[in-house]
Symmetry: C2
Subunit: 398 residues, 2 copies
């Protein structure tokens, strides 16, 4: 990484220090396609339509339409990646990375963030109305894959008139989508930044997802997925999210944040939360059920578990001139560095241009959202180099 940074900082244009600004108020937009009798053909063999994608855009598409970057979200993310929604205090989930003067510099690039199908944040998912019945799909929603999510996004990119994306970027499941974009549409992606992700879930990753699913399905309120009139399985979904939060942090970051601090200064000798870490998990679980749909959790975790671009499937024969910046974090035990190294190995085997960086961090998997300094510099320079190469017509001749 030292060597890399040294090379990159020789680049002519660097971001002026301390000159980042907020995007201010932004709004989610919606694009609907695959209207009947046209429907999105899914990997399972089933079809889905109509399909709505919630998305946001920041910055301006250049006349050459060559500055578009697609940012992709993780399991519980949404289209609101940056800026503020009117009346809300918290900015989008990657606001530190997207905006004027930030690594995804909206003074220069046109940044798009699309919610995934299967979700519950404005895109078509199990809580959407099934046009055949007029009721929410529930467990009648077809099973989807990461490739299906990306297929739907391709419709959006077509609609926006973008032939080739300057970059696809995302962490965790967002990284899987970035990889899938290259696998499905290599000629439409100039560069990719998969962060803290994998070519496929290990059995341990599948196991954590499966326990979350079992927790939801064990809740009688789940009612085989048909709970939209009765209220969702809050307790099961809450436990699933609590498990998730343990895997997002590291042993060390939990120690730093909570240690064995007691909520009331002494042990309760009852089933209340004795330790702060218990209170934190309960709070996170209880909050999550207010904003996320349990069926979406089931469908999206299945899509993650099904994802498998190992064994040459990432670069499947066609020549690929996509540039890669692959990033992992040292304390991330949910998506360990060896999985990012395997991505790089597969790319190198196919002679694809790839830079790999394992960033120092104690934050575990959360690092891709909170460990900003290292990512900022890397991504800023990588995008700049890619963009300058593209404008100089070197896109295919690196």
């Amino acid at each position: 990484m030292e060597a890399l940074l040294k090379t990159e900082t020789e680049s002519t244009e660097t971001a002026p220090e301390g000159c980042t600004r907020s995007l201010g108020i932004v709004e989610t937009q919606y694009y609907t396609f695959a209207e009947p009798p046209e429907a999105l053909k899914l990997e399972s063999g089933e079809t889905l339509g109509p399909v709505t994608l919630a998305y946001e855009t920041y910055g301006t598409l250049s006349r050459e339409r060559s500055n578009a970057i697609l940012v992709l979200h993780a399991l519980s993310g949404d289209a609101h990646a940056a800026g503020f929604h009117r009346g809300e205090e918290a900015p989008g989930w990657w606001d530190a990375m997207i905006g004027p003067g930030k690594p995804f510099d909206t003074d220069r690039y046109f940044v798009i963030c699309s919610n995934v199908i299967g979700g519950c944040m404005g895109s078509t998912g199990p809580s959407s109305l099934d046009p055949r019945t007029g009721k929410p799909y529930g467990a009648e929603f077809p099973f989807i894959t990461i490739a299906d999510m990306v297929h739907a996004q391709r419709h959006l990119i077509d609609f926006l008139g973008i032939e080739r994306l300057l970059c696809v970027a995302g962490g965790s499941m967002g990284g899987m989508q970035a990889l899938q974009w290259v696998a499905s549409y290599p000629e439409r992606v100039r560069s990719a930044i998969p962060v803290a992700t994998a070519l496929k879930h290990s059995p341990q990753q599948i196991a954590f997802n499966e326990v979350g699913r079992q927790s939801i399905m064990a809740d009688p309120a789940w009612r085989e997925g048909n709970y939209y009139e009765t209220g969702q399985p809050e307790r099961g979904l809450s436990v699933a999210r609590m498990i998730g939060h343990i895997t997002f942090m590291s042993d060390r970051s939990m120690e730093a944040k909570f240690s064995r601090k007691l909520k009331k200064g002494k042990l309760n000798f009852n089933f209340d939360a004795d330790f702060e870490v218990e209170g934190y998990l309960r709070y996170r679980g209880a909050n999550f059920v207010k904003r996320f749909d349990a069926n979406s959790y089931l469908y999206i975790t299945k899509a993650m578990d099904y994802f498998d671009l190992s064994g040459g499937k990432l670069i499947n024969g066609r020549a690929v001139d996509t540039r890669f910046l692959v990033i992992s974090f040292q304390s991330d035990w949910l998506y360990p560095a060896y999985q990012s190294q395997e991505i790089v190995r597969q790319l190198k085997l196919k002679q694809v241009d790839a830079t790999y960086c394992e960033l120092k961090s104690t934050y575990g998997h959360d690092a891709f959202l909170v460990e900003l300094e290292g990512q900022t510099t890397l991504i800023h320079h990588f995008l700049e180099k890619t963009y300058l190469g593209e404008r100089n017509g070197n896109g295919n001749h690196r």
Copy 2:
């Protein structure tokens, strides 16, 4: 470790190779004490009585009563550590370690295994009848600690007429009890073998336990702990156990055992178990609820989380001539090696005789039950040296 093994194998008596035998049929025994108005005073300030402990013994107590070893079990263990119960096919949980010619050599030592209070395997716990009401305690059972468990065991050791134990040994929560024996009754313990354990739970360890508890308490069948007439919260307890099984294995042992093998050779595109790892977890969860009481799971995990012998509390002032063999395993991320190293550090600070060994293993926390070869040699030689020292009257003069 190499150096240690070299030294130890110079010892005169080594176990003859391949000369281990089974204990054959064994039976659980029961000792009841603290009959009203006498009651066991608990750390919480509450009392418990009468108290029954289920226990088993193997081998013969010597005339000098100097060859007694107390073996202590983990969260879901029981008094049945070795040999076979009549009509059962599986031996006790540490059978590979206990028996004639085995490390805990019953031709030489008198081995005792006691179930913990709070459990559901014959000792007094939440499913026992509350003498005040004639009904199961349920959530009226008082909260217990590891020190309370050990306090109850001390009554059993008194009853067996043993003044000083040659050794206390156990893995995971069994290791906590071994440490607590030294903290509570240092003069009654000649040596201790804490395996894959800790002086205190980290916030990550508390967090995993807490999620298991929340899963049980989220199950409406839990009924605030009063479910003994209606059936226990099987689904919640099953999910808790599934979480446990992930933490008992390592990323690598899961990869070796399951990889991404599919149960039916192809993806289901439904909520059935697609991957073998999912089927395994569901099976383990479903089996666990047949043999373990959900309230015991709640009470015992709380006791583990409350346990804290850090900061000098392990050796609290009194001179201790207890010898220690501290063992950890390389791939154990639930009780990482640094926690065992901290035990050793605390012992060395108090000039206590301690040997530390981090054994190679890919099995994760399960290693203390399945990674036998390394433990066998270490424990065999450690006990032999301790026993010979004791018989030669060197007990206090090492």
